[in-house]
């Protein structure tokens, strides 16, 4: 109830700031090192963002081209901090009963019937208030991802593709993201012992409301440069020949510069390198590139355009 008032005011300065998680890192560099240990190579901006997200604490709002590692960031953060990753995939029509909590109605009904039957046998009078109270007990509460993230800690809560949800849903996220608490009318407020690290991702299919954005740290993720991409390939595919990693990274980098319907992301270059590795390739040539092009390019028009120019693409 009180939380409802606070949520309307925005992050009230008078409210006691939630304590940072116990294992808060000391500097962005430490975060980068911890992320690297899980196989996620973060640049300085991203490391600073992750560090601030844990220190302030504020949700991370990640936007960027598909395949630049928005979702992977949440997974890496969970692994690095030893927290459980809880994922909420948004879609249109998503509402509180799918994101937050729901009452287990059939179980409540069964329980009520059992009470009635028991009372019928023992000829007792049921206390209506007590029965009603017992129906809205925690054991009949179905915790959906957001409530789960608040109840168990430490957690990393990934709210994926928030732009796919309706705008009403954002309003409802506000209370959760600023207060780290949820108010259930029948039970009261449920507050996280340590606030979860929240990562929101968006593909910009719709502009997310400013009220939500300004409570977050805004991260714009770009494709990595060639050197970083080579490092990512080596890190994620340990057996990959060095020469092949360099060639794949260079070729993908070039593909991003050409006019394609869907420029390949890091996920695609990883797929491509893996495909080549499985075929036993030592280096990239026109034949094996043509055979595995489906791993990088996902449109027929793109594939046609690139296939004709493969030799010039690989020559550079």
């Amino acid at each position: 109830m009180l939380a409802g008032v606070n949520a309307a005011d925005g992050p009230g300065e008078d409210a006691a700031p939630p304590s940072p998680p116990p294992a808060a890192p000391g500097s962005p560099r430490e975060v980068a090192a911890a992320l690297e240990a899980t196989g996620y190579l973060a640049d300085e901006g991203l490391a600073t963002a992750a560090y601030l997200a844990m220190r302030m604490p504020r949700p991370l709002f990640c936007e960027g081209e598909p395949g630049t590692g928005k979702t992977a960031l949440a997974q890496a953060l969970a692994q690095a901090t030893g927290a459980e990753l809880i994922r909420l995939q948004c879609h249109d029509g998503i509402d509180a009963s799918q994101a937050l909590y729901d009452w287990d109605f059939p179980r409540q009904l069964l329980y009520l019937r059992t009470l009635e039957a028991a009372a019928g046998v023992s000829h007792e009078r049921l206390d209506a208030d007590a029965v009603a109270a017992s129906l809205y007990d925690r054991r009949f509460l179905l915790a959906r991802p957001i409530l789960r993230a608040l109840q168990s800690s430490p957690t990393v809560l990934l709210i994926d593709e928030v732009d796919r949800a309706d705008d009403e849903f954002e309003a409802f996220l506000l209370e959760v993201l600023t207060e780290h608490a949820v108010t259930i009318p029948e039970i009261g407020e449920i507050r996280a012992a340590t606030p979860p690290i929240v990562v929101l991702t968006s593909n910009r299919t719709r502009e997310v409301h400013d009220a939500l954005k300004r409570r977050c740290l805004y991260v714009w993720l770009d494709h990595p440069d060639v050197a970083r991409e080579i490092a990512i390939l080596r890190r994620r595919l340990p057996g990959l020949p060095d020469r092949l990693a360099e060639q794949v990274a260079a070729a993908v980098h070039q593909l991003r510069g050409t006019e394609l319907l869907k420029p390949p992301g890091v996920a695609e270059s990883l797929d491509w390198a893996l495909a080549l590795q499985l075929l036993g390739a030592r280096e990239l040539d026109v034949d094996n590139a043509a055979a595995t092009l489906g791993a990088v390019l996902k449109y027929r028009e793109d594939a046609d355009r690139v296939r004709d120019r493969l030799d010039t693409l690989l020559a550079s």
Binding site: P11, E13, P28, L109, Y218, E259
Partner: protein, 382 residues
């Protein structure tokens, strides 16, 4: 202001000075066109508190993460950061020169002198009778006198467009549809455990997205003002489900600017945002930019896409045809509105429109209020 005060580290004059410098930077940023709120400034100061302020990259990232909210903001932030912290007074960041005075007022042709002869009587008629409105509804938007234009603005503001809708995934109680177990059970409970009948539920309706792409090149300039006003009216009706872009030599998104309630303020803001008024058109390239950056990601998916253009294309028509084919595959309906299509003797022969025709669901006229009303009906029923 209290937010900034509490977030600041507690210390004497030196910090006070530093604080002022930092808040000054956010003001400069606001002038550069990044919408910085007090809340964001507070977050910026809190972030600086958590990192090493003396390290320039860390200060840079602390600001970029807290003060930006859009990829377009990032470029402006970079320029403002470089200008502010380089301390070089000669350094002229490009965002200052990019701002242009609003040109909407002078955009439209001013037939003031010649309107005296025959226009005076006409104006008179409009002021006194309702039939003037009826005539005006069918007049060409490009050939109006200033008084008629004023009248048209008021008529446009009166339009009440009904947004198109689509089925949502969410289900609501309904008279027909699939059985709803939960409500059926609840009804049974009320009746003492007796099933009295099936309750049902069905998919609810949500507004379908409408995307308007308005050509603001030279050949369309007589219509651009009225079309943007029209777009404003449609946008205000369903702000969450409408997107407006202008096409010229480049693509500009004006949804944010047009979201303001007051049409004059909204139009002025849009005028400032559009850098290529009355320039040339490269429809194919600009459509490609739209599809790459917005359309394919989801803005055009399952949307009703309306292109307002006369189809004068400077670039290659093949590119335009390819892009329209792409747009057609993504969208729910693709409608092209050509102001010339309603005129006598019009034949779709311009390079652009010939290339476009095979990919369109409908080609409509859009030169008068009556035809725009017709467009609203088509969009509603899409």
């Amino acid at each position: 202001m209290s937010a900034a005060d509490t977030a600041a580290p507690v210390a004497p004059e030196a910090t006070e000075l530093l604080l002022r410098g930092l808040v000054g930077f956010t003001t400069a940023l606001r002038h550069a066109g990044v919408p910085v709120s007090t809340e964001r400034v507070a977050a910026f100061l809190a972030a600086l508190d958590a990192v090493e302020v003396t390290s320039e990259p860390q200060a840079y990232w602390a600001g970029r993460l807290t003060l930006c909210g859009d990829p377009d903001d990032v470029a402006r932030y970079d320029a403002a950061f470089a200008a502010w912290f380089s301390g070089d007074p000669l350094h002229q960041p490009n965002w200052v020169t990019e701002r242009r005075p609003p040109r909407l007022a002078t955009l439209t042709p001013q037939p003031e002198p010649e309107s005296d002869a025959d226009g005076a009587a006409e104006q008179q008629a409009q002021q006194v009778s309702a039939s003037g409105t009826e005539v005006l509804r069918h007049r060409d938007l490009g050939e109006l006198s200033p008084a008629e234009r004023e009248h048209l603005r008021r008529l446009l503001a009166l339009l009440r467009p009904a947004p198109p809708s689509r089925a949502s995934r969410r289900r609501r109680a309904a008279r027909r549809g699939e059985p709803d177990p939960r409500r059926t059970l609840r009804a049974a409970l009320e009746a003492g455990g007796e099933l009295t009948g099936l309750r049902r539920r069905n998919r609810s309706r949500r507004p379908r997205r409408v995307v308007m792409l308005i050509d603001v090149s030279g050949s369309m300039s007589p219509y651009a003002d009225a079309l943007l006003r029209f777009a404003h009216v449609v946008l205000r009706r369903a702000p969450g489900a409408t997107e407006v872009f202008t096409l010229g030599t480049r693509l500009t998104r004006v949804t944010r600017e047009l979201r303001q309630r007051d049409p004059e303020l909204a139009l002025a803001a849009a005028g400032r945002a559009i850098p290529d008024w009355s320039g040339g058109t490269r429809l194919g390239e600009v459509l490609q930019a739209f599809l790459d950056r917005w359309g394919q990601r989801g803005v055009a998916r399952r949307a009703v896409v309306v292109v307002f253009s006369d189809g004068w294309e400077r670039g290659e028509p093949e590119l335009l045809a390819d892009q329209l084919a792409r747009l057609r595959r993504l969208s729910h309906r693709l409608i092209w509105v050509n102001p010339h299509a309603g005129k006598d003797g019009y034949a779709p022969v311009q390079g652009g429109i010939v290339a476009a025709l095979p990919h369109l669901d409908q080609l409509l006229a859009g030169h008068s209020l009556a035809t725009l009303e017709r467009l609203l009906e088509v969009v509603r029923d899409a």
